[in-house]
């Protein structure tokens, strides 16, 4: 069976034009997808049943047993952490937040290791952005800052920017200038009209310098700022100010460089400054396909996009304190539920070690690095393949992923609802 207009559950681009060929309960071919998408659909090798660690071995257990034990562990904990959420859909994330409320847990999503700093910056100065189609149809200048879309978001350029013809930009490749700013050459920098090579950790100074130039303070700029010549900075500022519609995209390179969220803040303030002269927008290149959805769901229920601590009953938020990496590094939490992400692969070593010390339960379709740190793993259907639900694209556009076939696993929502029911019952 051939299914059209399938939404890809890999990265934040959420391409929705895939054509997927399904035989039984297996995807056999994907058209229009990038290599990352193909791997996601085709290289899908599931864990079959829930498993529990028993000494040095794993034993198979039933779903009911796994769910009951998970609920018991969470109820016993004094500082449980519910982490992940980016790889599942909104309806499941909603139950996750309600579970955290009842438990008095900390709930956090993968923003903590990617665009958390972008969120913190937005909370200081706001976010002049737009949907991706606005850029496709209008932008004559696009800047990728510390982002390498060719590798991480392979279709970003062809669907939304460099190669995407739009209503006002009929021939994008010719009419649209692309500037890449990075600490090293990348595949993306090679197709740029202008490549700005910055010293590692120098982004903040470069952004400050550009802001000063746009404010008319050229005289203050020294001949060289963090490896970039004054002339190039002037040229970049001129390109931006002459643009009819400019768009900055930034990647984790900027959020994780020294200064972290202050880099993003500076980039946003540059964008705001440019808006006094022309139209400019800025957008984070969100990684996990539905990480933005987890931010949205957390926000409408708790008021905060990530790192929410319910220990005191009310919602409290303070990145650096309530973020999972920090909680794990300090060894605070005494139980952890991981849903739809792989902290074992992405967290610092000290954090992974703490996960291994405490009872960690993972709800995830696949055996991954976190499996090796867990006590229990509950396999589920993959959202976008055999489960459907809402996901938010990196620019906030919500889409409904498709269920391509009826698989044999329950989905995240079913498992979480059962845990939630047990916990609610126990809490009265």
């Amino acid at each position: 069976m051939k299914i059209e207009d399938v939404v890809c559950p890999f990265c934040g681009c959420l391409c929705d034009d895939l054509v997927v060929q399904v035989e039984g309960n297996r995807v056999v071919n994907v058209e229009n997808g990038c290599t990352l998408a193909n791997e996601k659909f085709m290289g899908d090798h599931r864990l079959e049943t829930p498993i529990r660690r028993s000494g040095k071995k794993w034993e198979r257990i039933s779903y009911d047993e796994a769910i009951a034990e998970t609920a018991g562990i969470l109820l016993d904990a004094d500082r449980p952490l519910l982490y992940g959420w980016s790889g599942t859909y909104g309806e499941a994330q909603t139950i996750g937040v309600h579970l955290a409320e009842v438990l008095g847990a900390v709930i956090d999503n993968t923003s903590t290791v990617c665009h958390g700093p972008s969120i913190m910056a937005i909370q200081e100065v706001g976010h002049p952005g737009c949907t991706l189609g606005q850029i496709k149809n209008r932008a004559d200048v696009v800047i990728y800052w510390a982002a390498n879309p060719i590798e991480a978001h392979p279709r970003h350029m062809s669907r939304y920017t460099t190669f995407a013809d739009g209503f006002f930009v009929k021939n994008a490749f010719r009419e649209r200038k692309v500037i890449v700013v990075d600490v090293r050459e990348t595949d993306s920098s090679q197709i740029a009209d202008e490549f700005v090579k910055v010293n590692p950790g120098g982004d903040y100074a470069i952004l400050s310098a550009l802001r000063a130039i746009v404010r008319g303070k050229r005289d203050i700029i020294p001949p060289n700022v963090e490896g970039v010549s004054r002339e190039q900075l002037f040229r970049v500022a001129e390109i931006c100010m002459a643009a009819k519609f400019g768009a900055i995209f930034f990647g984790v390179g900027l959020t994780m460089a020294s200064g972290k969220y202050k880099n993003i803040r500076n980039a946003i303030e540059l964008t705001e400054e440019l808006n006094r002269h022309t139209k400019f927008t800025i957008s984070p290149m969100r990684g996990h396909w539905n990480v933005y959805g987890s931010n949205e769901v957390f926000t409408w229920i708790t008021g905060y996009p990530y790192a929410v601590d319910f220990a005191r009953g009310i919602a409290f938020y303070n990145p650096g304190e309530t973020t999972s990496v920090d909680i794990l590094r300090r060894g605070e939490c005494d139980a952890c539920l991981v849903v739809a992400s792989d902290p074992g692969a992405h967290f610092p070593r000290a954090c992974a070690e703490h996960l291994a010390r405490i009872p960690t339960i993972q709800i995830d379709p696949h055996v991954n690095a976190t499996t090796h740190l867990s006590q229990i793993q509950i396999p589920v259907a993959v959202t976008g393949i055999d489960a459907e639900g809402t996901a938010y694209r990196m620019d906030g556009v919500p889409l409904r992923t498709r269920k391509l076939f009826q698989g044999s696993h329950p989905d995240d929502l079913e498992v979480l609802e059962k845990i939630y029911a047990i916990v609610r019952e126990a809490k009265g």
Binding site: G90, T94, G313
Partner: protein
């Protein structure tokens, strides 16, 4: 369910012609009925004021922009924090509370229906997701068409029917309720960082004017026989001297509908400024109110501002940028491809700011100068003028000249030179307040047809009982009591169920989303229109098939079907 019998209620039910009578109300199966069943639960209202459930006809509570207001404002979340308690979820926030926070606070104030003022069609799914997390009110979504390319092309071609067809397809696809125009043409111009400055300015590239967009959409709305009229946020919001734009706009409106207005003007306070700069801004409420009084085919809502901090948010992207330039506070913007824009910035309205004092006066003046309460509805454009929790204070100000005089002493003393407020003696009565907070909304939105806004048999059993005894208190003196009473119902009943009591929400709630489907002849079905679908696939970044909001997002959807006259 056994039903409810409310005894001894002091009822004001304007749509049924009840202007304050002590009577009983019987409820069964979610409806008002002639007679209660014998096992009905009896509530003794003890001659307390009993009204149809409150209806907010213009509020921003759900969707992309509202949630971004939350997302960017952890400082706002430091207020209004409550822990999970009984059936109530955790809440946070003051000006942009969490969805449950909004829902609980509205419910304890007796509100049972809310219209979300602005939904971008492309992001409609988000609005609907938040609707289901606002469980104590039935929800409706104004759908944005102000910068819609297909609409502007139809306007350019002077093809009203095609415009109507685009509206019909879009409302049905995104499960929207009515047509919203926010700064028509201005949001498209903002795509290039510009704006339009009068209703006769050309929209860049599209070669149409706001006046043409407004005129065409009013016609299209009536061709589709939609329950509500076009809902307009005029051009030039917040600009000194903008009352001229507002008067010109009112002058455009034909009288096309027997049952309701032909144009709904929202948050008119923000559109009634005289002067030419912030230094000489003054009230033009008298001119605007006179125009409204002389134009029965329009209805407005106040858009009252109240002193204190809040967060402004609107689809009017260029206006928010201007506000950012004025205050240098944080600013977010979110343009939506082919459709509209939006912006957010926090503000503080201060009693020490003359401009803010003038704005505060204008809203009240509009309500006091509008002769017919059915033409001026109470609103703050929540949260733009103030969070909706300020409604009781606004009611008290409208009902008490003494309260207004006391406030006069607290504000910038120069204010009185710029506004007529303190010369106005009128004090609104209970009936007028009932009109301005529920009955007129139901009529203006056209939802009496589904039983909203009144208490006669057959109506939805949405009822608010306030701890106020109209035969014992004098609102012009006891305004503090009025304020307290409207802040917290004794009972809020929604679809026949007590949902809130004395400020506490007592059940989990299960709301409905009300939407409209205008049935058009096949020739006007845009889903098979080659040009429409081709442009869609070319310029949007989502596939047309993935655009419509699936039924699953409306677990208790209520569809109003109309037959288009095309």
């Amino acid at each position: 369910m056994p039903g409810i019998l409310i005894r001894n209620a002091f009822v004001i039910d304007p749509l049924s012609g009840v202007k304050g009578e002590v009577m009983d109300i019987a409820i069964r199966d979610g409806k008002i009925v002639e007679e209660a069943s014998t096992d009905a639960v009896v509530i003794d209202a003890a001659r307390c004021l009993t009204l149809p459930g409150g209806i907010d006809s213009h509020s921003h509570v759900c969707g992309t922009k509202v949630n971004f207001g939350r997302y960017m404002s952890p400082e706002d979340m430091r207020a209004g924090r409550t822990a999970r308690k009984g059936v109530m979820h955790v809440t946070s926030g003051y000006s942009v509370p969490t969805t449950f926070g909004n829902s609980y606070r509205y419910s304890t104030m007796g509100y049972t229906t809310i219209l979300e003022g602005a939904m971008a069609p492309l992001e409609a799914r988000h609005t609907h997701e938040e609707f289901t997390a606002t469980p104590h009110q039935d929800m409706l979504a104004n759908t944005l068409f102000d910068g819609n390319w297909s609409i502007m092309e139809a306007v350019k071609e002077k093809d009203v029917k095609r415009a109507a067809a685009v509206v019909a397809w879009t409302l049905s696809a995104v499960k929207g309720f009515a047509i919203k125009l926010t700064n028509p043409g201005g949001t498209e111009a903002w795509g290039w960082g510009g704006d339009v400055n009068s209703i006769h300015d050309q929209v860049p590239h599209f070669g149409v004017t706001p006046a043409e967009i407004i005129g065409t959409m009013i016609q299209a709305n009536e061709l589709l026989n939609l329950p509500h009229s076009v809902h307009l946020h005029c051009n030039n919001l917040g600009v000194p001297g903008n009352y001229q734009t507002t008067l010109e706009t009112i002058g455009l409106v034909p009288d096309l509908n027997r049952d309701r207005q032909s144009l709904y003007l929202t948050h008119v306070q923000f559109h009634s400024y005289g002067g030419s700069t912030w230094r000489d801004i003054c009230s033009k409420s008298e001119d605007v109110a006179r125009a409204v009084n002389n134009t029965p085919q329009v209805v407005m809502d106040m858009g009252q501002i109240m002193f204190g901090r809040t967060t402004t948010m609107t689809a009017d992207g260029p206006m928010e940028f201007k506000l950012y330039m004025l205050h240098h506070n944080k600013w977010s913007n979110h343009d939506v491809e082919l459709e509209t824009g939006s912006g957010i910035t926090p503000v503080y309205y201060g009693r020490k700011s003359l401009v803010n004092c003038v704005m505060w006066s204008i809203g009240l003046e509009l309500a006091l100068l509008a002769k017919n309460p059915w033409q001026c509805l109470l609103s703050t454009d929540n949260p733009n003028g103030a969070p909706f929790v300020k409604y009781p204070e606004i009611i008290a100000l409208l009902m008490s000249r003494r309260f207004r005089e006391n406030e006069r002493k607290m504000i910038d003393p120069r204010t009185e030179h710029f506004v007529p407020l303190f010369a106005i003696e009128r004090e609104l009565d209970w009936y007028e307040i009932a009109v301005m907070t529920r009955a007129a909304q139901a009529k203006a939105l056209g939802i009496t047809r589904i039983g909203k806004g009144y208490l006669a048999p057959g109506a939805e059993a949405d009822v608010a009982i306030f701890p106020l005894k109209p035969d014992e208190i004098d609102p012009s003196v006891d305004y503090q009591q009025v304020m307290a009473g409207f802040s917290r119902t004794r009972y809020t009943i929604k679809r026949g169920r007590v949902v809130a009591r004395d400020g506490e929400v007592v059940v989990e709630g299960a709301n409905s989303t009300i939407w409209t489907r205008a049935n058009v002849p096949p020739a006007y079905d845009m889903s098979s229109d080659p040009e429409f679908t081709k442009k869609f696939e070319q310029y949007y970044t989502v596939r047309m098939r993935n655009y419509p909001v699936q039924d699953i997002y409306l677990p208790r959807g209520v569809r109003i079907d109309t037959e288009a006259s095309l």
